[in-house]
Symmetry: C2
Subunit: 766 residues, 2 copies
């Protein structure tokens, strides 16, 4: 295909939704993290009247649960509409009963799943393959995408193959890791998609629909005399499937220039040690394998794309004859099984082929646990051990059953010229949105490839967010966090003593801090360790008082535009002048709906930021700094000290297995040791203005502001300055005293209390 | 244990419920075929105040769905109550989300599952392992019982092991085949159970409950930093499980004298060919293996009892070193998998052990398809083939993908002295209940072992039922249908031309027919084939006009007691005098609630039957009979001729795979070719008495009686004798004519129409 590539910066969910929308008549949905965006995006597109390749607007219906969504998809397929849905985790579990029906009736559904952990000892909204593995026996084909680009390319393969084969598809990619990672990728045009679709197959599908003009019956009840025979009647459809998917992959490969097969081998032609894996780990392993091969190691890897049907024939074709040892990586855990599913499939295939290789299986990346090149190295090291561990874990320290592999060597595989950044923000402060903007600006205005991944905790608003951004001249296939950043931004001054912000920062890198401090104050406010790193690594250190600027332009706590401008000015990843011009456009786009005033405020903030950014000329003595701010955790029970505090310091990954109760039980009353104190401003109560309506307490999302009534006796022991007023209301009998009390460490500074105050002049001010 | 055995005749559901009741504080239920009886029995016991081993009455709650039942079990466990539930098929699917939670929190639930087919191209209420296999990854332990006795013994192992290990158990046995098979088994006394329970473990469980006196938190949300580690923290519980289950099996073995291990090997010590299977097939394979070994063949089999955790170590210990070829039988189908689950587990285990044996896998018994010794023979034959088929099917004719094995030899493995009977009845005519009574009488009053299995179609009332009864001096472990009966009873005269009733009957066997025919009429009414078999095999042929007797004693269509008495009188399996005395007791027990009149009627019917039974002295000429009644199916479309008619003739098992649409689609309008004509009496409308209330049509469960209005013009073409009356009602304007029309071939003769008639004297009579 000789044509201009259309590049866009978007996330995995959007990439998959782009294809799902193109090729579906109906989507029945029930949103669940991390798949919700797919449904939401399709809903938005449908609301704007976007047309699919059949010239129709997608009909999208929100059901009462995922079970209902799957049922509606089933019904919709039976009535001749190409149908899709989007789900994950518990949502997928609720779809399983209908999945058996949909596959049993050979209906070409496509489910797009951003694979997520199932709840066991604890809930997790993060990613692994436990959900899709719980559906592997339903008769659906399972197709795995490893990256944002693949989430688009293989979504297309899934839809084309479903139409051509009649077998339903579950197309999946790693929840958060791929679903929420932003990448600059090539967009497949709907016109090109339209050309690839087998119209005869679509017509044949529609002609099989239940309709009064060709009535028939389906979903009957069968007895032992006939059910088994009928169950075997669909065998030819499954036997044909590997061929059909191969063909669709060939079509998509021709169209895009990106080459896909059921299994893809990467590595040395004479590899002895081979890793087999699926999903986003593929890119990590591929990068590491190439790196190790460049060192002369005989290693290789197989990416599994079509997981069901598992074509042993195709698998054996790509496995090099030289291979002696295999490690199969599963991103799920099935307690009691002789091995995790992909491992068992590989064992079965090799057993049938009579190939007596050494095969071990291991678990990694459960619930979005990081999976890095260094861990890949550990997996290869294990294969080289005299007695390789089987059923190992990698990425954790299992000090109970000693399943875990030791990491001996740290490996860095980013392509040369890749610029890596980390941003520490506060949930809802706009950091993540600003970074999404930034990589879109960079992606759309340069030839650079861009990647962004956002680490949230599940506290939502007020929790910490860490944005991991990479830019570079080559495609960035690094589905793990930045650990050697060239740029670090800290959007909240309280973080300097809480987190190891500068861990891994490169020599000569840049550190951008939002704080109200001058150099003198920094001597006191920054921890010694941070000062030493800054000085020893010759870090370019910038400060900006973003809160002050936001306040000056009356933007409240929203410092995102300010920090974004500072980022562009300090890093120069892109010509700052261009960046600021693009930022203005983005501001218009993002805030235009809210009126010209908000747009103006944001543009003013941007300009102030450019002017206010200050490079800190720190003294050389910082290299040997011994004094500085300390983070002093409160005296606390052992569990809080041993488990909670490391987690709060973003060191939870280091906690060993023995730190946890096997049944997920935890002590009560631990939140009192987790006062985050993230509010830059907290409300002050003005008793004289207060009308005692209590609305401030009612709207506070963190229960951080509360009204109290006291008796005169109670107040005798009140500390100085503990102001109260006579309480209103007949029943108080004139004997009770009223006070609004703020809990400053629990307050997030959102200002809802001030905004909602019913008094003539607000009785609260920030 | 030196004590008198308590033997009872009961089914698999009752056997499992006996243990579940003993060891549970709470059962949260939502009944589903074929598990419903477990819940119903427990409910009944609880209503009567039966005590569990803790001296409590089981608290049983019916929820809104199986999802709710599993949720309630989860909650109940968390609050410290030993909890159980009973389910199957789609019901189990709805429990999966909670199962992950229950196992993740190490809560010792026990689910008893009568394993049933999942709905795919068609629904089926019958048995296979597709449901339990859909739950194998949930972290539950899976324990399989192969027979009614095991359903009791291993249910106990499941409860004991759950308490001792903290891991929840799914105890399963084959739906219908085991759940509804009646067997004379040894009952485990609650006092003995109480002695086996580890009270300390129970106390420890209760002390972990969520309660205000030792508050804690469970089911938290975890993030990528800690979820993986915590997920590995339960490893020791799963590693300990095989040992704990082995110990519980040893305890139960000591108590009962019946020996159980995680895997049990049966067969030649030097076996070369070994079958591995699970569930009721185990007894079939065991019987066949013993038979083949007695012929000198080097064959063996392994019964899988603890399926999860699958202990490769224990498996390899029982596999004879001489084994060269293995066939793994799976009672489920997972399209797209490299092999069904048990097959994959065996492959994985052998791969890990470096044992290069030839392993093939096959599917059998899907949806209660018969699995017989002859099929076991075919599986062994396949292993001996130069290139054994892998991923085979057995028990069907797969003429599409040629997966099926050919059956070359028919094998009979019943222990000597086993007396086999078959009864053809009409659903709701009481045949099944009478047979249940009969085997209880025989079981309780003799040293004979007894087995009864009832083949229903899913038409419920009015469908055909075939009861398969066996009696004998040795335990009867034949979990397949009787195919060489010594006794055949036909409870409905219309069956003689419809079914091959005497197929396989033994030389000198007995045939008991319910018909109003004398010998002369039989010449015309019986098909030639039947007459030839009767004469050539020197069958003792008895007739009884049960309908006449039932009518004489005003019992309506209930001929069960009459046929039962005739059975006892003709077979003499038990002293007839004793049998009749016991029948009287049973009649009192069964009908006592309905008043003395019904009891008297039934006893009268019994006595009349004893007197009226007539041996038919058929002529020798029957041996060469050429003439007789024919079953002439109506002219019908091809699908009806090729598929529906064989199914109606109970020949559906012979239909090949190619007879079916792969997506389960069937043509419409086929019921018109399935007029069963099973009513012995049909209602006649008496126009003069009719008040035109239409209640008869309203209550008819088969839409076989309908009111019609006609205009005078319409009636011009009416046939002779087409009586109508002036229609009532203002709106008829005096111009319409009314008629009640019965469809005799659709009528089942239930008499509901007559019973409900609102006229002073019934306007309908049978």
């Amino acid at each position: 295909m000789n044509k201009t590539k259309q590049m866009k910066t978007l996330d995995g969910n959007t990439a998959a939704a782009h294809i799902a929308y193109a090729l579906s008549d109906v989507a029945a949905i029930y949103p669940i993290t991390p798949s919700s965006n797919m449904a939401e995006i399709c809903d938005e597109w449908a609301a704007y009247g976007r047309k699919n390749i059949f010239g129709q607007t997608l009909k999208i219906s929100t059901m009462q649960s995922e079970a209902g969504a799957a049922g509606a998809v089933h019904g919709s397929l039976v009535s001749g509409a190409l149908s899709t849905t989007f789900t994950a985790s518990q949502g997928l579990l609720l779809m399983i009963p209908n999945m058996y029906k949909i596959s049993g009736e050979l209906l070409p559904a496509v489910f797009h799943v951003s694979a997520r952990t199932l709840s066991t000892h604890a809930l997790s909204i993060f990613g692994d393959h436990s959900d899709v593995m719980a559906a592997r026996q339903t008769g659906f084909a399972l197709l795995a995408s490893a990256s944002v680009q693949e989430a688009m390319d293989l979504a297309l393969v899934a839809h084309l193959s479903a139409i051509n084969s009649r077998v339903p598809f579950l197309h999946f990619f790693d929840g958060f890791r791929t679903s929420h990672e932003m990448q600059k990728i090539e967009i497949i045009d709907y016109k090109d998609i339209a050309r690839l679709v087998d119209r005869k197959a679509v017509t044949a599908f529609r002609s099989r629909a239940l309709n009064p003009e060709c009535p028939h019956q389906r979903g009957t009840a069968q007895n032992p005399d006939t059910h088994f025979q009928n169950r075997e009647a669909a065998n030819p459809y499954y036997l044909a499937l590997p061929g059909i998917v191969s063909e669709a992959m060939a079509q998509v490969s021709t169209l895009t220039g990106r080459c896909y097969h059921l299994f893809d081998y990467v590595g040395a032609a004479d590899a002895e040690n081979v890793i087999i894996c699926m999903g986003s780990a593929s890119d990590t392993v591929e990068g590491t394998v190439k790196f190790l091969c460049s060192r002369g190691e005989k290693v290789g890897m197989i990416k599994v794309r079509l997981y069901r049907p598992f074509s042993g024939e195709h698998f054996l074709k790509v496995l090099p004859a030289s291979c002696r040892r295999i490690a199969v990586l599963d991103r799920t855990k099935e307690p009691g099984s002789p091995g995790e599913p992909l491992y068992q499939d590989v064992c079965t295939t090799l057993m049938e082929a009579g190939q007596a290789k050494q095969v071990v299986g291991g678990r990694y990346g459960i619930s979005s646990k990081e999976f890095t090149p260094s861990m890949v190295r550990a997996v290869f090291d294990n294969l080289d051990a005299p007695e390789p561990k089987n059923h190992f874990t990698v990425g954790i320290n299992d000090d109970i059953t000693n399943s875990s592999l030791k990491i001996k060597e740290k490996i860095h595989v980013a392509p040369p010229g890749t610029y890596c950044c980390k941003f520490y923000g506060l949930g809802s402060d706009g950091t993540v949105s600003a970074n999404q903007n930034s990589i879109t600006i960079i992606g759309d205005n340069t030839d650079l490839y861009a990647q962004a991944y956002f680490v949230y905790d599940s506290k939502k608003s007020g929790g910490i967010t860490v944005s991991h951004l990479r830019f570079g001249p080559k495609p960035i296939r690094l589905p793990f966090q930045v650990w050697r950043p060239s740029f670090v931004a800290c959007h909240n001054p309280s973080y300097v003593t809480r987190y190891a912000l500068l861990e891994g920062i490169r020599e000569g890198g840049t550190f951008l801090l939002n704080s109200p401090w001058n150099l003198e104050e920094m001597e006191l406010r920054l921890p010694a360790e941070m000062k030493r790193i800054i000085a020893r690594k010759k870090i370019k250190f910038y400060n900006i008082d973003a809160v002050k600027i936001a306040s000056e332009v009356t933007l409240g706590g929203r410092i995102n535009v300010i920090m974004q401008a500072a980022f562009f000015k300090t890093t120069k990843v892109i010509d700052p002048a261009l960046a600021f011009a693009e930022m203005e456009k983005m501001i218009e786009k993002s805030y235009g709906k809210k009126g010209p005033k908000i747009v103006e405020k944001n543009i003013a903030a941007m300009n102030k930021a450019i002017a206010a950014l200050e490079e800190i000329r720190y003294p050389d003595s910082w290299a040997e700094a011994e004094n500085g701010a300390l983070f002093i955790p409160e005296e606390a029970p052992q569990y809080v000290r041993d488990v909670v505090y490391p987690m709060l310091a973003l060191q939870g990954d280091q906690l060993p297995v023995s730190a946890f109760q096997p049944d997920g039980v935890v002590p009560l009353g631990t939140t009192r040791y987790e006062k985050r104190g993230t509010a830059v401003k907290v409300p002050i109560w003005i008793p004289d203005l207060c009308i005692q309506c209590n609305q401030c307490a009612f709207v506070c999302p963190h229960a951080a502001i509360r009204p109290y009534l006291s008796r005169e006796d109670d107040l005798k022991m009140a500390p100085d300055g503990f102001t109260t007023v006579k309480a209103n209301g007949k029943k108080t009998d004139g004997k009770l005293y009223y006070r609004i009390q703020v809990s400053p460490l629990d307050c997030t500074g959102c200002g809802n209390c001030v905004d909602t105050c019913l008094a003539k002049e607000p009785a609260l001010e920030m």
